[in-house]
């Protein structure tokens, strides 16, 4: 069995979620139908809505089910932008952090290209923490122009947790709504939508033990969103489409389970993570921990996240060598057609492209054990040495060829 240390990509389905999924999928029914089958499915969906709301510190009417985090982020960013601009044509500015997931960043850039949005990018410090001074300055500059602020709750690559409460408080002084992508935070650290004061918040099932393909956008009761997806008018007319009652039931089961066990699970996973960090730094003294330094204050770094850069290595070489050794990790950043690119998050934190290329993220979760940590620590030294030898082979070569001077 491979050692799975990529829980931030997706985490195995939990027992309660699997049970709910299989039970509900065998029953069927469209929750919008008025007959008995529909009523039964509707009951399941609405039960789930209440349970997801309770887990996220929200009211049931604030839960808009989606196909996952990416859809929730798109709906929030575009829906808030269009609604705010409709209300006041001067609202065309978006204040966005430089370390957002592509689901937010690319949606913002799309609005900039196609919908006349003006974007102010908030810088971060070397740990990935958003600058509150920059936020204050951005909000104060043209007070009646900002449509929304969007800052993720916790970063998917380096695990840095943002001061969402303070960000919302700053924006509230100008009456500006704030969206937060809480896909990585929800279920891993305490998250309360009500306490946060956010206008919208994106969550997803498959990062917390639920199935892939279902998530939610929490939408405050006073918040107006322009729909992105049109159709049958489900979900308060904000998100049309037949509801996935099985996925939603499983999402609720996973959320309830994860949040109920958070008090025990978060310190357990954080302790494993700390041993992993100490072990990797012992085996490879050159490795540089990115994000919040070790030991991290409670809730300042995601409990399961350990992110390093390895000088002189290509991250994909490390990933490849670890994969061969039976360890499943990640470079941490998205790729198109599998082509690795230096992470925009690491570049925003001030790393050079060469430093950023050597990234490797280990993320732990509910199935992680001491043995997993031991396996990573046991394999990282050899993988590092080999990857370093392979070095930047994409940039320079020592094989002598016809054109570089090999003859006879």
């Amino acid at each position: 069995m491979p050692v799975y240390v990529d829980h931030a990509a997706t985490t195995p389905i939990s027992a309660p979620a699997l049970a709910a999924l299989t039970q509900e999928i065998s029953r069927g029914g469209n929750p919008s139908s008025l007959h008995g089958s529909g009523r039964r499915a509707r009951r399941s969906v609405e039960d789930a809505r209440e349970r997801v709301a309770a887990a996220a510190g929200a009211h049931a009417s604030e839960v808009v089910f989606t196909s996952g985090g990416t859809e929730a982020d798109n709906l929030a960013v575009k829906g808030l932008y269009w609604a705010r601009r409709s209300a006041d044509a001067r609202h065309t500015r978006i204040i966005c952090s430089t370390v957002e997931h592509h689901a937010v960043q690319d949606a913002v850039e799309w609005l900039e290209r196609h919908e006349g949005a003006e974007v102010l990018w908030l810088p971060v410090d070397e740990t990935g923490l958003v600058s509150l001074d920059a936020l204050r300055a951005a909000l104060a500059d043209g007070t009646d122009r900002t449509a929304l602020v969007t800052v993720m709750w916790a970063n998917n690559e380096v695990g840095t947790v943002q001061p969402i409460g303070e960000i919302v408080a700053e924006a509230a002084r100008y009456g500006v709504p704030v969206h937060s992508d809480a896909v990585q935070a929800f279920g891993s650290i305490p998250v309360s939508f009500a306490d946060s004061g956010l206008a919208t918040m994106a969550v997803t099932a498959h990062k917390i033990g639920g199935p892939v393909g279902v998530g939610a956008l929490l939408v405050g009761r006073g918040v107006t969103l322009t729909p992105v997806q049109h159709g049958g008018g489900q979900e308060r007319d904000i998100r049309s489409g037949t509801l996935d009652s099985a996925g939603i039931a499983a999402f609720a089961a996973a959320a309830e389970d994860a949040v109920a066990r958070l008090d025990v699970e978060a310190p357990r996973v954080a302790a494993l993570r700390d041993r992993l960090i100490e072990g990797v730094c012992r085996e490879v003294p050159e490795a540089v921990l990115r994000g919040v330094g070790h030991p991290a204050a409670r809730w300042s770094r995601l409990p399961g996240n350990a992110h390093f850069t390895f000088p002189g290595c290509e991250g994909d070489s490390l990933l490849f060598l670890l994969d061969l050794a039976g360890i499943e990790s990640s470079t941490g950043s998205a790729c198109s057609a599998g082509v690795p690119r230096p992470s925009h998050v690491l570049l925003a934190m001030g790393l050079s492209e060469d430093e950023a290329r050597g990234a490797q993220r280990f993320s732990l979760g509910h199935t992680s054990t001491d043995d997993d940590v031991a396996a990573v620590v046991g394999a990282i030294g050899e993988a590092y040495r080999r990857a370093r030898a392979a070095g930047m082979a994409g940039h320079a070569s020592t094989i002598r060829t016809a054109g570089t001077g090999s003859s006879s």
Partner: protein
């Protein structure tokens, strides 16, 4: 052996990888990303670096049950292949970018990274054969199917590179068999069209592509005696052997068509003349390399019999060759053709064979016609 299968997304490399798996090797598929901005979908038969090709390679690896990775060599490819291609044309030479890619990317940058990561060999879908001599040294030979033979574009590989090269399609009687085998193995690329063109020129219009990248200056068209007989939009836009597009108003004295005999980039001149002057009797080559252990005449300087080939699908012609060493210790290859050969341009690669065996290669620096006093040459 630990084998890295270079997967273009085409049928040949997919079947080559499948055969390496069958042979019991521990195989990993790697697709080379050679362009920073790949098109999303392939159009027609052209291009080899689109997202669709990457997906095809990925799918083939999944079917074979082997891991798949994409390695980014786009910077190296741009520097070593694309920029070199432009620079060579700008200097009036005619380069072969596929050969350059084999020399510098597939069997250098890729091979080096593979060796460092613990692989023993790089496997590709090229149609060529690696044999071992009595001492176990590698020799490069033509493929069983001469129509598909690609030993020419591999002629640039050295002993060190051949030591770690694997071409599982070597003994395949025909391409049709490879397609049938792909079909049998359930590889969805079985009917994917062949790629023929230069992969970084997606629409196949090499001339138009170059004209966007090379500054063209109007200059003179001259005859072999140096007499001006017309003008051209830019010498670099012409290729030796070209007949069309000269736009010379007055016909030649003998009424016969005129051909481009020579490009002189320094003087920005295009030299034209009758067809018979295209027939080349002697070549001189630089940047010489030997495909494995050189034959003994290379060291002794004696002349040896061989056949010479100057383009990927050209016919080999009988020749006698010898090696000279210049003052700097660099080898120069002198190839005397038994029968004159047409369409030889500086910058092209001459590959020498004995029978099916590839001896080595050189970049053509000058070409001489017995009917002209001075050899055609382009100074680097």
């Amino acid at each position: 052996m630990r084998v890295l299968a270079a997967m273009s997304g085409g049928v040949d490399s997919a079947v080559a990888a499948a055969r390496a798996v069958d042979a019991g090797h521990d195989v990993v598929g790697v697709h080379l990303a050679l362009s920073r901005m790949p098109g999303t979908l392939r159009t027609g038969s052209r291009g080899c670096c689109t997202i669709e090709d990457s997906r095809d390679a990925w799918r083939a690896c999944d079917i074979l049950g082997i891991p798949y990775y994409v390695w980014d060599f786009s910077e190296r490819f741009k520097e070593d292949v694309v920029d070199d291609f432009i620079a060579e044309y700008a200097a009036g030479r005619t380069p072969n970018p596929c050969m350059r890619c084999n020399e510098r990317i597939k069997f250098a940058a890729l091979l080096e990274k593979a060796l460092a990561l613990g692989f023993d060999a790089v496997c590709t879908g090229h149609y060529a054969t690696v044999l071992r001599d009595a001492d176990g040294n590698p020799e490069l030979h033509r493929a069983a199917d001469w129509a598909k033979d690609q030993s020419y574009v591999l002629g640039v590989l050295t002993h060190e590179q051949l030591e770690h090269s694997m071409f599982p399609l070597a003994a395949t009687p025909s391409k049709a068999e490879v397609r049938a085998e792909a079909e049998r193995r359930g590889l969805s690329v079985a009917n994917k069209p062949d790629s023929h063109d230069i992969c970084f020129i997606p629409d196949g219009d090499t001339r138009g592509w170059l004209e966007e990248r090379i500054e063209l200056t109007e200059g003179d068209v001259v005859d072999v005696d140096g007499e001006r007989i017309g003008s051209h939009p830019g010498a670099n836009a012409f290729t030796v052997g070209q007949r069309r597009g000269l736009k010379l108003g007055t016909p030649a004295a003998d009424g016969k068509p005129r051909f481009v005999l020579e490009i002189r980039p320094k003087q920005n001149e295009v030299v034209v003349g009758p067809e018979q002057l295209l027939a080349i009797d002697e070549l001189r080559g630089i940047k010489v390399s030997w495909a494995g252990v050189p034959i003994s005449e290379v060291r002794s300087g004696e002349e040896f019999d061989c056949t010479a080939q100057v383009r990927a699908h050209g016919d080999p012609v009988d020749a006698r060759a010898s090696v000279e060493v210049d003052d700097d210790g660099a080898q120069q290859l002198v190839v005397r053709l038994v029968e004159p050969m047409r369409g030889v341009a500086p910058g092209q690669t001459v590959v020498l064979y004995q029978g099916t065996r590839v001896l080595g290669q050189a970049t053509i620096d000058s070409a001489r016609s017995a009917l002209r006093p001075d050899p055609v040459s382009v100074q680097a």
